[in-house]
């Protein structure tokens, strides 16, 4: 191997290692696609069921209880976490790297603090919060803090993921500003639409945008 080829090979090694060590996509495009389909399907199901029962039993204010609403979305979250874990594991196998890589540990260290507060609010919701139909508050917290957790990875995530995070954060903030207007409508329709719109549509757009794009520093 002549010196130029060797130099090119070494530059390739440097580039690959730098990208692997400094860029980590916490949510892959396939995960985003699965998450979006699941969120849209769940949101549509809740919407249809509520309308069906509203037509058949209009005297009843709501047909899906607050706890059931939250349970359904937490179930969807559990499925998406499982799917994401599988994709991360499969990618690690393909790359010949350990599943619990330094990059994964760094991502978890960045994301987990942002999830403590929404976790606490969710526990409160199941214990007491459900009594006052507080889904709108719960959903705002989920959306905003999910956005924050994505933004927390900005030092090593591709820019597209950070933009996705800003989309969620601004949606959560906007919903807080418009609380009075949103509370006018029957619950759980607005919280359900907000979940379907943000977790469904945003992830769908993200998945389509990054499906074939390679990860490059400062790109996307």
């Amino acid at each position: 191997m002549d010196e130029r080829k060797r130099a090119e090979e070494h530059l390739r090694v440097i580039r690959t290692l730098m990208e692997r060590a400094t860029i980590y996509r916490a949510i892959s495009a396939p995960t985003a696609l699965v998450g979006s389909i699941l969120a849209l399907a769940l949101s549509a199901t809740v919407w249809v069921r509520e309308h069906h029962w509203a037509a058949n039993a209009p005297a009843v204010m709501r047909h899906i209880s607050a706890r059931r609403f939250a349970s359904l979305w937490l179930g969807a979250l559990a499925i998406v976490i499982g799917v994401n874990t599988f994709f991360v594991w499969r990618q690690a196998q393909r790359d010949g790297r350990p599943f619990i890589s330094p990059s994964l540990k760094l991502a978890l260290r960045s994301i987990l603090p942002c999830l403590v507060f929404p976790a606490a609010v969710t526990i409160w919701f199941f214990c007491d919060g459900y009594e006052f139909d507080n889904e709108l508050l719960l959903v705002r917290i989920w959306i905003a803090f999910y956005g924050l957790s994505l933004i927390a990875t900005q030092h090593f995530a591709p820019r597209s993921l950070v933009l996705l995070g800003w989309g969620f954060l601004l949606t959560g903030a906007g919903m807080t500003v418009a609380t009075r207007q949103l509370e006018y409508y029957a619950t759980p329709l607005v919280p359900n639409l907000a979940m379907g719109f943000s977790f469904g549509l945003y992830h769908l757009v993200y998945a389509m945008c990054v499906w074939n794009s390679p990860v490059r520093p400062g790109s996307e």
Partner: protein, 98 residues
């Protein structure tokens, strides 16, 4: 024409180059994380780290938390040497394309 002799011979080895590259990305790396990322054996990794340390390119810190942990970082000299190595490498590639 670039001078190949300017290439730092300590860094110009794939294993040590990989270590230097990772150390350039973060302030410090633990031995276990380096091993996991590079998929090297303990013996191989420690030999390369000792070489880099001997030439003053890498500093090591030993901490005792729940168990002893050694972390590695580039020294100022190491960072400069890595930058210079990259510069010469780019010159070689550019010269070859002309």
């Amino acid at each position: 024409m670039p001078d190949f002799d300017k290439l730092d011979k300590v860094i110009h080895e794939k294993g040590r180059l990989s270590i230097m590259t990772l150390l350039a990305t973060r302030p410090a790396w633990s031995f276990q994380d380096l091993k996991a990322e590079l998929n090297m054996s303990d013996g191989n990794l420690i030999t390369h780290l000792r070489t880099l340390h001997k030439f003053g390119l890498v500093a090591l810190t030993k901490e005792i938390r729940e168990r002893p942990q050694t972390s590695y970082a580039l020294t100022g000299k190491g960072r400069l040497a890595f930058k210079e190595y990259l510069r010469v490498l780019e010159q070689i590639v550019k010269a070859g394309r002309k």
